[in-house]
Symmetry: C3
Subunit: 680 residues, 3 copies
């Protein structure tokens, strides 16, 4: 429908422009480097300490716009030339930024119209960062011009290894200004062709919202409750596409000037803002900024899901952990420190999930500004510090693990379905319950697999599922008829499906699939849902096995057998968890969210019935293992996230490349310790 | 004082234009009907299912503005002609809307100045509904023109039974735009005559707020705390009056064109926003949208109070339950489903309290838009569903109860006083406690009467109280000297009064009645209140009997006897509940809010002393009974709101017209069941 | 650096213009008097009741602008002449306001540009008070003109005793309008000289914030998170200075016209908004509005700290309790009443801490307006009321205590360090924990001293500390190198220092002192802090003695000995409380906030080791004592804040001037009672 919309194919990943980087650096190690915050005398110490720490890649210039273009059109690259030369001399490669993430004061003073306008009409003032409207022609023109200057200046520089476009695009606050309104109208016209198409897609016969022309359409600027949900949903799609257009405009310039240098941008910690299925084809490698909370006991499990997303975005291609914190961050209400060893453990977890880079924000802790309490590789206390010691030690380990670079994971048996428009629509207004969050649903399903040591991919609803033994569909509220057919065929052909409640409710325009929920999946699931009956927040739902929360609904079986029942209230005796043999496969349905222990039992049963095995058998509680297949055979990375030493019985004798121990048949891992195993 | 202010008389209820509707429909049954959301093929099924369900009245076109006037001044009534004809053919009457509730995109695009401006300056953007300024001349002109077109088109149409003006006016967000400012100044000039009058009324000598002219007055647009309370109070009055003026302008057009067709508008679920004493004289029948929360165990008791308000607004005239939900709604954080039978039970509760219509939002559940998860008579699952079965069954029952239509309740012995300006002023800023809510106070007093099976009317403070044995005054913060005299004369003449704390504090301009609280009632109550000492939110107040909450104060008896005392803190030993013989009557005073059990004991004692009896004697806990007097004698509607079967000993043998059982001397009602009793 | 910035010297307190007031009034007694709210007949009763109550000073006209200048440039002083004459005749002195706190409607209607604009762009509408931009030239011009008129009118009037400029300046909401932006740029240019200086001070190399010229600088108008902290900090400094400039402009006019009349302004209840070290040199006496919450069991202890601030602001000079409430206030969510006797007890507490005036808001309780539920000396109930009885009794007592007027406290042995820029910066965004509040830290340290009966001064970080045995530094986040040196020299010279965590972190531009926290204090403390590890809000921190909360960090001793250790988590075994002998002194450090009982034990030990003794030995729990040195010798004021009678063993026989009892060796004080002791 949309001629200009980005290509959503996950298959067209283009040339492997990233191979050169891999060959040059192995597992890349380093961090954001902001030398403009420091006097020149510090730069020499920087390069010396980088070498000491094994740093081979630094991201330079992400917020340097005002430093390299201090006045409109007047460039000052002198200082950066020195920095790039020093890096090259020191053998450190540069992930060089286009520097366009934060427009300088001179630009916003001359063009206040580029500032982001929030939904309620308040303008975001300069003074923070990323305060630009992605649809602003003025912003785009200035940004592209800068990217061009930077590319021209450093094309061929020996330090230049990869381009870093913008910064965490998804963190840009959605803009609702006049330029956005105009761009949104063009986007809609592209998507729907005619105003009749728009009216149909947005169900505007409701509440007298029928448009006479595209010119009457506005961004969703705080209407009286409740807003048109299709309007909100399309604005989320549009915002993602507009940010991508900013990225692509800069990328085009870079590729013109330096066709062989790979290009990427760092995806922000929150997965939600932009549709990464549409973005991933346009980066040469997925780059991600990960900030698990050390105070969250479930942090490693949640990170595992996120890293599975990153590895899956480009079909298993190794990705770059572009940022993480060596210790505490500074932007939570309470910023917990990482206890000794956790930085190493979590870095290796990313590698276990397919990362080819372990990088930090940032190299040297800022003295001033809003992020001065964000930890860094070189802390305020200087290199004589616990953090820098751990940084140095980790650099040594990763350099020794060079063979892992480029190694892919063996094929996973399990896929978890993720779709951004469904996520956005699920969390909209005026639903049966306002407590539904996609990530909660995804974590609830991913966690029992993580605990069982099972490897998972993450896929789009219309992906080819043929290779998977088990497909898990958490809360896929929005589903096209095509997605319905895809999943139905998967089950029919012999697959095992687990779907959680409130899935398949609406089409891509947020219009209900009529005739009994969840219409596109009813045949495969063998049931019909007639009414929703969500409990209050935190209220338990009585079940015949364990207890549920968050949701309950009236399920009418149409072939499915009941595995767990509701046992209280108006739903007592009705199905809560069902199983349905369909074609050659099996489809499970969860009409509530069982408690974690019940989920663990259920998923253990389901995956066993589906023939899904863990990466390593018999892993103790809290120990995670993942595999990567190197040119020289399989490697297992084993991580002890638990609080005590654990013993892992190995299926065959192995050696630990980190400790040098082996051959081992029992691996003993201290709390927080890591092993890199190869066959003995 | 105000020449143009609406007439507040509750007596002038005009001709009974509603009689024809009653004769035609009996207890009207149906719901909102929005055919423009569906293709024509569905329309035929609609009428067929309506007949199957016993539907005889549907509200058509409430949000059809954009559909009937798709461009300025260009009308398209073709589709609606077809709908109206189909309804007429199917024997379904139309409650036809003037369609002015939600201005279409073309209007707000051409005239953004009609959009509501919130107190803090943020404009409500189109995209929801009811986003208009009621004082906007542009909005009013367009709305009246549309009403005129609709009336001219359907005058004399056989389906047309009653006009439905606008929609839930009270839900329109108060506007603070320039047009509002100008209208407010005119309203003030009308009310106060001179700026000296305004200054006096608003106590502007405080904080240097004295106005030099009306032109200096603004709407209360988020001043620094704390705002002038008289300013806020008058803005609430003004907002109510401006919305009423919108209604009246459309009504005038309708009455010109179709003088015999009754006119009404549906009052919104929240009673608070507009002063219904001023509105009620201008509707031919009170129409109300009721949405009790199925998750609230006190929902039926609260609904009983609200329905008493509705029945009382026009002196006992039967009212129309214009909207309710067949199941869940979609606008709460958590939307509980109605368990089987609750829709029927609550529908009959409305009839028991005097409703002559049982209608729903809406006929067919929307496929798209903001309310698609609001339940409907025909749900997404279609007519083969529990909900539609119950809808059909209820239609059958109500059709058989035709004789109830028009029947009034026998005179009640108890009146509860309700006054909108007092409510608004009570909940303003900068009071001794910010935790006071009028509805909490009203419910606290109404509940023990409801539990005892006692019928209540609701009256204005200046109503004729002569017919009542007991008058209950919850938290009447604002009271005119006239109201004081009215209540004093009532007691003096032999009545029993119960007044709860923080009553009679200020005059209609929110100025304190000096000389000891509550000055206008001190003589009747026989006491003086010297200081307020509210506890913290949720903190109990120790009493000699039970415990209190929300409030405490220092009462100095001046003739009153102490029935319950405070027993803790600085007030220990002082009166918490008092009784005073005054003239031939008795006045009780509550200086705190006793717990429900204590309230029940107190009110049982008070009403017995006052000679007030329940509708039926000896009702078990949870069973409610109300009576209506038909042409053919008294009918009792008995409702079991409890969780188990209940047995009611009847004072005389009766028959149950719903079950056909009888003659009975003991009525056995299952949980959730209803009986319609007539003398055997 | 800043040529126009106010003089911060605490020493230059100018001539003692206040002596005349003291001689005329003794301990001044009275309240705010707003006769314009009442008809003339009330004025006569007012003066009669004032005399009856011993009132000798009233604050007149604080919000009278609209009454004395009802139209632009047209003055009506007639009514005020009458009031002033009546006061003079009645022997009541006037603290006469310049009346500029609340611009009248005619001014804001003509000049809406003077209205305060909030950080998010919303304008504060008229209707409350203090809705002006302090940088507005229009506001300043009108305010100064009014002050001039008032001064000219009442120069030499016999009632005039002292000028009251504006009202609670610190309560004016910070403004972000264009006039503010221009003034801010001038202020910055003054402070930093060049844009390079600004860029350096604000660390603008971070996030591309480098300014090309001052004209690009804006107020911090809600930037995207997180804002530049140095920008925010300077805006707080600027706001304080701009408000002070308003005060000084009016003061200059008053001093021109009435050079002998003292001038002051009342500091608002919240200490935080303006830097009182910069303000204090410009008032002839510190005046303070105190509103402890009667519902807060710690109210008296917190008030003690605040009163210590007030007494210390001008080096021990007696201060004026300009406002307090006789009973409840009206602006809290729940406004507790003062039980009988509390008004007297808390009034005497202020006197014990050096107050020379006991005044109230307000004389007569308003009938209308936003503060009508604020208690007053003459309540709504009139003079026949508990409150007025207590007012009269207190007036009698204070008149008898005339000798205390002007008496200073004996020198304190303890000083607590307070610095406003540090306070503001501490509570900014993006810190290791967002739960840090300066006052919590100050109270935590002051409370054990208060409980022990020890008198404290409050000092700036660069004050001369030579006279103190113990200096307490709570959470001095921001510290200049000078302050570091000052405190280091203090310890070296033999002093005892107690410093709590997260002190000495940044310089006055909010830039980290590098090289290990807290760099400026490391030598004196004998330690280095490497990382912060704050617990969650409310989470306890395990200690070897008691438990901590709010904070934890990794302390590396460099000479300090560990007194208390952490015993849980990653910090187990590391120091939580340390002591370091440095030079001839001792420095203690608290790396968490120990619970109150542990703090009490620690501080008792520390002060004993430092040789600090309580004001009176052996005070029972809940009994407070403070001393003032009159011309006729020392007086002790002893206050029983506890709930039961207490017996105080006196070190020598004394007489109680209030009860007349004595000579006593044991003083028995009822709950809430006060004694004024002199040597027998």
């Amino acid at each position: 429908m949309n001629g200009t919309a980005p290509d959503r194919s996950r298959e067209r990943h283009g040339v492997d422009r990233i191979a050169g980087l891999r060959d040059r650096l192995g597992i890349a190690y380093g961090g954001d480097y902001n030398p403009e915050q420091w006097p020149q005398e510090v730069w020499d110490e920087d390069v010396r300490l980088m070498k000491e720490a094994g740093v081979c890649l630094v991201s330079v210039g992400i917020f340097s716009w005002a430093s390299v273009e201090p006045r409109p059109g007047r460039y000052d690259f002198g200082w950066l030339d020195q920095v790039m030369d020093r890096l090259a001399d020191g053998g450190v490669a540069a992930c060089l930024a286009t520097m366009t993430a934060s427009p300088p004061p001179w630009l916003t003073a001359r063009h206040p119209e580029i500032l982001t306008v929030r939904a309620d009409g308040r303008t975001i003032s300069p003074g923070g960062r990323q305060h630009y409207c992605p649809s602003s022609p003025v912003y785009r023109e200035h940004a592209v011009r800068l990217a061009e200057q930077v590319a021209a200046r450093y094309a061929g520089h020996p330090a230049l290894a990869i381009w870093h476009v913008g910064n965490e695009y998804g963190n840009v606050v959605p803009c609702h200004c006049e330029a956005s309104a105009q761009a949104f109208r063009r986007w809609l016209e592209d998507r729907y062709g005619s105003v009749e198409g728009l009216n149909d897609a947005w169900s505007t016969s409701f509440w007298s919202q029928r448009y006479g022309s595209f010119s009457e359409v506005l961004p969703p600027r705080s209407p009286a409750p409740f807003p048109n949900p299709a309007h909100d949903l399309d604005y989320a799609r549009f915002t993602s596409d507009e940010l991508l257009a900013c990225y692509l405009a800069e990328k085009a310039v870079l590729q013109d000037i330096t066709p062989d240098v790979p290009v990427t941008t760092n995806f922000p910690p929150s997965l939600r803002p932009v549709d990464l299925w549409t973005w991933a084809p346009h980066v040469d490698a997925v780059a991600y900024d990960a900030y698990p909370d050390p105070a969250d006991t479930g942090a490693a499990a949640k990170a595992a899901f996120t890293y599975d997303v990153m590895r899956s975005l480009r079909g298993g291609q190794p990705w770059l952990l572009m940022e993480q914190a060596p210790g505490a961050v500074n932007w939570r209400p309470r910023n917990a420190a990482k206890p000794p060893g956790v930085m190493r453990l979590w870095s290796w977890q990313a590698v276990a999930h397919g990362a080819d880079a372990v990088m930090f924000f940032q190299w040297r802790q800022s003295r001033g500004g809003a992020e001065k309490f964000h930890s860094a590789m070189v802390p305020h206390a200087g290199p004589s510090s616990r953090i820098f010691s751990e940084v140095r030690e980790l650099g040594r380990e990763l350099a020794a693990a060079r063979a892992l670079a480029g190694a892919r994971a063996p094929g996973a048996d399990v896929a978890v379905v993720l779709d951004w428009p469904s996520w956005w629509a699920l969390e909209g207004d005026a639903h049966p319950s306002s407590h539904l969050r996609f990530l909660d649903a995804a974590w609830a399903c991913h966690r029992p697999l993580y605990d069982a040591g099972v490897a998972c991919d993450v896929v789009a609803p219309d992906a080819d599922l043929a290779g998977y033994r088990l497909v898990v569909v958490p809360n896929l509220y929005l589903a096209s008829a095509d997605a319905g057919g895809n999943l139905e065929r998967y089950v029919e052909g012999g697959g095992t499906l687990v779907m959680s409640f409130f899935s398949g409710i609406v089409d891509p325009c947020d219009r209900v699939h009529l005739g009994g929920y969840p219409a596109p999946f009813r045949r495969a699931l063998g049931l019909r849902v007639e009414e929703f009956a969500p409990p209050a927040a935190g209220e338990p739902v009585a079940l015949s096995e364990g207890s549920g929360s968050v949701w309950a609904e009236e399920v009418v079986p149409e072939g499915a057998e009941t595995i767990v029942s509701f046992t209280g209230g108006a739903l007592a005796g009705r199905p809560a968890v069902t199983r349905h043999r369909f074609g050659r496969g099996t489809a499970w349905y969860l009409a509530t969210r069982p408690d974690p222990a019940t989920m663990r039992r259920l998923f253990d049963r389901i995956r066993r019935e589906a023939g899904v095995e863990p990466v390593l058998p018999g892993l103790p509680e809290g120990v995670q293992a993942r595999a990567r297949r190197t040119a020289d055979g399989l490697r297992h990375i084993v991580l002890n996230h638990g609080p005590a030493e654990a013993a892992v019985e190995l299926p065959a004798p192995m050696r630990d490349e980190l400790s040098g121990a082996g051959p081992l048949t029992t691996l003993r891992l201290a709390a927080g310790d890591v092993a890199l195993l190869r066959p003995a």
